[in-house]
Symmetry: C2
Subunit: 304 residues, 2 copies
């Protein structure tokens, strides 16, 4: 199966600690890299993964709180020092431009490639990026800033060729692509070999949603129903539910309730408050509601 | 002797590596903290020292290349989250304002204390900061940016009291300060006890200079003659001297030549290029010219 990996670069919250870095993750989808959020120090965390910097062309920012975007300008400058000339595309709510443009202007002499900022519609679910393998949609969230999550939906995977049947009928190479697209094959004697004898179905398309930062939004379940993996913030445990509500964050239990009602395959908790010495309480609390829960951690790689 | 420590938070150069963080250091002078430069990730490096964030009120920036200042806004926001209300003062060449002011403006709602930016005269040696224990001067450097180093000169340390003499003559506590300042003591019978019998000299004032980034400037020796500790960039080794000149940096050997002609007490090399797997060549090269040379390293604490 082709790669669809989530690399956790940082899963702490606003106050950095010696245990967690601020928010960032890299998605490796068939060797094309996508970044979501880019807190301070992300470029060093990125380097640790040994993924290729040059395979990253697209960055999605959830919102402009410092722990989600302060690493952008350093990352951009490093790319430039490494000789990058290919454009980079950065998606985010409209104030991302107000944050980033003055920095790009200040450092323009040292940035040798185009940086394209795309303001996304963060109030509705909107298709903001598409290539031949994936569609990316915004997910409206509710936080103390213009904020959205992102939903990655893999496109339909083409069926696989039954090599032994191709050989048996002596079907030439030039016909393979059209057969993958669904064509039958006509033998010289006029006999039709149906597509279903020549192929077997590709894997089911996979999906991943990133929801951080946000207060608990039960209705999110509608838009992430049945996805394979949900990364959801769980800044607090239930004991601090009042505080969570006040600062528009979610508790681990609430994240699990959402995962359960959306019937997702797996839940990964992140964006941990600096107040917890470890996250075992958060994990336990969530697993009581939704057993298929794991904790994010720097360096963790999860297959969707 | 009272503290005058240099804590190295980062001593790499522009391209961050897994071995070195970008430039930053904290000076602990009698429990008052001063920061010089603040590259990305400095707040985490600072936290590792276990020094008290609240004891830092003054930051000196050499120049606005990203590896010397991108950590400022994150540090400021963290201070605010921790409840700081005391103002912070940041000194640097005039374009520091162009870099930092838009960020402060963007994040103004989340910064709960005054951030005062002071543009320094970086073309001449200028007294830019003074308190009762130290004077800080700019050191004009030559780089691909408006850039200066900083010289910390400890003020004269008051003489120490000879406790046994104070007791012997029954001198009251209220007189101690004036005796420290140089006064004699007159006994009830009119006899004069000279100050020199009541005190012994304080330690010689210490001095520290930070010179990064710059090309090799032999005439710097005049302004740093006889200082106790010199931190000087040594981005390259002699083999890359042409490259050093081209990008306005210094080689380890050149830094040592400067240290030797300025007769400093000790030389610490830093701002290492990412191209070196370790800095043993740089150290060897410098020590051949100036044996009292050490390498900076993250976590190193040097007493001036």
């Amino acid at each position: 199966m082709e790669k669809f990996e989530i690399h956790i670069l940082g899963c702490g919250s606003a106050l950095p600690t010696l245990r967690h870095h601020p928010s960032s993750q890299v998605i490796n989808l068939r060797e094309k890299l996508f970044m979501i959020d880019c807190g301070e120090g992300t470029q060093i965390q990125f380097r640790k993964t040994r993924l290729k910097f040059s395979h990253l062309n697209t960055i999605f920012i959830s919102h402009t709180h410092g722990d989600h975007c302060l690493g952008l300008i350093g990352l951009i400058q490093t790319f430039s020092m490494l000789g990058r000339t290919a454009p980079i595309h950065i998606y985010g709510p409209q104030d991302l431009k107000d944050f980033l443009q003055p920095l790009l202007e200040f450092y323009k002499k040292s940035i040798g490639f185009p940086v394209n900022i795309h303001c996304v519609n963060f109030r509705i679910m909107d298709l903001v990026y598409e290539d031949r393998s994936v569609e990316v949609y915004t997910i409206p969230l509710s936080h103390r800033a213009l904020c959205c999550g992102y939903l990655f939906r893999e496109k339909r995977v083409l069926p696989h060729i039954r090599r032994e049947m191709i050989d048996f009928y002596g079907i030439p190479n030039y016909a393979i692509n059209s057969i993958k697209e669904g064509a039958d094959w006509i033998l010289p004697n006029g006999e039709c070999i149906s597509n279903s004898s020549l192929t077997f179905p590709g894997e089911a398309p996979r999906s991943y949603a990133y929801c951080s930062d946000t207060c608990y939004l039960p209705k999110l379940a509608e838009v992430i129903t049945g996805i394979d993996l949900l990364y959801h913030e769980a800044t607090f445990c239930e004991e601090n539910a009042a505080r969570a509500q006040e600062v528009m964050h979610t508790t681990a239990r609430q994240a699990a309730m959402l995962a359960k009602s959306a019937k997702v395959g797996k839940l990964m908790l992140g964006h941990f408050s600096a107040r917890y010495e470890n996250e075992s309480t958060l994990l336990k609390e969530a697993q009581q509601v939704f057993p298929q829960t794991i904790l994010a951690n720097e360096g963790l790689v999860v297959n969707v």
